[in-house]
């Protein structure tokens, strides 16, 4: 995706969100809606300016990282998916079990292609266990345990 497309897509998204924020505020009491509507109005106009500037070729510069963007985005996308799954697992199996699964999956995504993947994952698992124990048994945080509770 080019910088211009990103700018335009971002402007459109912000336009939609600010429009929603403005319209939704109509249902609030008068003093509760003033601030969100004022801010949504300013953001809407600013996003409109951004969209127009982008269309006429004067949009802001976006730093695009060099390198193989396809591979990078694939790794990042997979990682985001894994993060969402990890989060969804927390109420089901608890924070520790979800953490172990999450660290292994993320470790495989992150370290793939590097030397010492197994060692890195083991180090990560040990670190996770240490920090879990610290919070659970020293700071007495009652973590969710899910089906293991």
């Amino acid at each position: 995706m080019t910088a211009r497309t990103r700018n335009f897509a971002a402007a459109v998204l912000v336009l939609l969100v600010s429009a929603y924020w403005y319209v939704e505020a109509d249902g609030f009491r008068p003093l509760s809606r003033i601030f969100p509507q004022v801010v949504a109005g300013i953001v809407f106009v600013s996003a409109l300016v951004l969209a127009v500037l982008t269309l006429v070729g004067h949009g802001p510069v976006i730093a695009m990282a060099a390198g193989d963007s396809g591979t990078r985005h694939m790794r990042s996308g997979t990682l985001m998916g894994a993060l969402v799954l990890w989060t969804a697992l927390v109420p089901l199996v608890g924070l520790l079990a979800a953490g172990v699964v999450g660290v292994i999956v993320m470790g495989l995504i992150t370290f793939r292609g590097h030397h010492g993947t197994t060692r890195a994952i083991i180090v990560a698992l040990v670190s996770v266990s240490v920090f879990y124990a610290l919070f659970r048994y020293v700071l007495f945080v009652p973590f969710p345990t899910g089906i293991f509770g």
Binding site: N7, S32, A63, L79, M80, G102, H114
Partner: protein
């Protein structure tokens, strides 16, 4: 109160936390990819269970240590560990290439200590009167203060003023989620009870500053550069100390620039370092030496960036407007401890606040022995540790930290949701700094606006309330200047008169992702 504060900071636990915090900060700062903001955000939940003094002492020590730690990678691998050290690379790395790595590190250390201590002295003497002045702030003044804070952060946004402004607006919009402060309408909760209290600040800050960094370090997946080895040399500290003593104006000017630039919301250590470096060149008799390994270049940058740490805390402690992203996270930590920025911080919570300020002096002084002693170990770790290996652990700590504050699983969802959104926004050129400032200033701005409206209705004149008070007028002028300044700068750039500013902006864009 001051004696109690001194006793509080001199107790063995506080001293131990200062040593641990500065050491950890140096390590975090030295590893490119890990930021001071991330370290502080991850540590806030740890400090929740501590006594407030100890928690703040630890966070302050990490902040100071991390900004100094950035100089190690700037000097040894030509990559600033934190954006604050951008200007340090210009002369630090050439010094290392000439075999003067240790001299550069000692210079950075002494300059950081000097800048940091001067900044804290200003913090100690400026904050109480400013906090007292904040007592004369009414709702209109707070509204204009928030407006000024947002326009100035938009103005100094590294990529685009317009995007900085939109980013701040997005933060303000997020801040309206939950029950309205006046009239109590339930806003933008999508029927979710968990959102009725609004977006939880600390999980949101962890999401903003940790998740995008982790995703970026995995995406970029770069190997650490080759670290230039160095050996400690006897009497180098004394030699560099005497050399810097012969440059009193350079040191004082850089400290003042760093402190006052740090005060400006959004203009963190990176801008302080670059401006100070530029001034060092401008006022030098030997301009050609800069960029080729000038000790003055390293000193100017490092003095200013560490002075900016204390500078960024001045508006945060007195007015609740953070000067930099790490200060925004410290703001969250203060709220978590039940301490609200303003005059009360220097009266009711005076002992804790002054202990925190005194601890910053000790943290800066501790950087001298710790930086010299740990330096070579840090350099070895820079060579051996791939920051990507820490990604899963950082995510786990982000989850544990978000959950443990209120023992609420919804805070994990908030943290992850905010983190993914912040990553997407960053890809589109919206940096987290303005968004976070908007999130923090939103409640101040909204209360200021709505209460001013009520005052105006009661008095029969909105104009008198919004525009008729002296402090409001000063803030309005500052707001207009902060909006107009980028336009003037762009005009000068187009007409070839803003070379330095343009170059600085480009440098900030190249090296900084708004992470400090």
């Amino acid at each position: 109160m001051l004696t109690q504060a001194l006793m509080g900071v001199l107790d063995p636990i506080s001293l131990l936390l200062i040593v641990l915090g500065v050491s950890a900060g140096i390590l975090v700062g030295a590893l490119p990819g890990l930021t001071a903001t991330m370290a502080i955000a991850l540590l806030v939940p740890f400090t929740f269970g501590m006594a407030p003094i100890h928690g703040l002492v630890l966070l302050g020590a990490i902040y100071s240590g991390a900004i100094y730690g950035g100089s190690f990678s700037a000097i040894l691998i030509n990559t600033p560990g934190t954006p604050s050290a951008i200007a340090t690379t210009f002369d630090g790395f050439p010094m290392a290439q000439k075999g003067e790595a240790y001299r550069a590190i000692v210079t950075a250390t002494l300059a950081s200590v000097f800048g940091g201590v001067v900044g804290v002295i200003f913090l100690i003497f400026l904050s109480p009167p400013l906090a007292r002045a904040s007592l004369s702030f009414g709702p209109p003044e707070y509204f204009w203060l928030a407006a000024f804070g947002l326009t100035i952060i938009a103005a100094v946004s590294p990529r685009s003023t317009l995007k900085g402004l939109i980013g701040g607006g997005i933060g303000l919009l997020i801040s309206t989620i939950g029950i309205a402060p006046i009239e109590g309408s339930v806003r933008y909760t999508f029927g979710t009870v968990a959102l009725q209290n609004g977006i939880a600040l600390i999980p949101a800050l962890i999401g903003f500053f940790c998740i995008p960094e982790v995703l970026r370090m995995v995406e970029e997946s770069h190997e650490s550069g080759t670290v230039i080895p160095y050996k400690r040399q006897r009497k180098m500290v004394t030699r560099v100390f005497h050399r810097l003593l012969r440059r009193p104006w350079l040191m004082i000017r850089s400290s003042l620039l760093g402190t006052f630039i740090g005060i400006i919301p959004g203009a963190g250590g990176n801008i302080a370092g670059l401006v100070s470096y530029n001034e060092a060149i401008r006022t030098s008799r030997n301009k050609s030496a800069f960029g080729k390994g000038s000790i003055d270049g390293v000193a100017a940058s490092e003095t200013a960036n560490n002075a900016s740490v204390a500078g960024a805390l001045i508006p945060m402690l007195t007015l609740g407007v953070p000067g930099a992203p790490p200060a925004a996270v410290l703001f969250g930590a203060l709220l978590l401890q039940g301490m609200r920025p303003g005059a009360e911080l220097f009266t009711s919570h005076g002992t804790i606040t002054y202990a925190f300020l005194f601890s910053l002096i000790l943290a800066n002084l501790a950087m001298l022995p710790l930086g010299i002693l740990l330096g070579r170990g840090v350099a070895r770790l820079m060579q051996q540790v791939r920051v990507q290996t820490m990604a899963p652990l950082i995510i786990f700590l982000s989850m544990v930290g978000s959950y443990s504050i209120y023992n609420n699983i919804a805070d994990i969802y908030t943290m992850v949701g905010v983190g993914l959104a912040a990553h997407a926004l960053r890809k589109a050129g919206f940096m987290p700094g303005p968004i976070v400032l908007g999130l923090i200033l939103g409640p101040i701005a909204e209360q200021g606006l709505t209460q001013s409206l009520l005052m105006g209705r009661a008095r029969g004149s909105l104009t008198a309330v919004f525009f008729g008070r002296p402090i409001s007028l000063i803030l309005i002028v500052l707001t207009i200047v902060s909006i107009a300044a980028p336009i003037v700068v762009q005009y000068r750039e187009r007409h070839g008169k803003g070379g330095t500013l343009k170059a600085m902006k480009q440098l900030t864009q190249e090296h900084s992702e708004d992470s400090v």
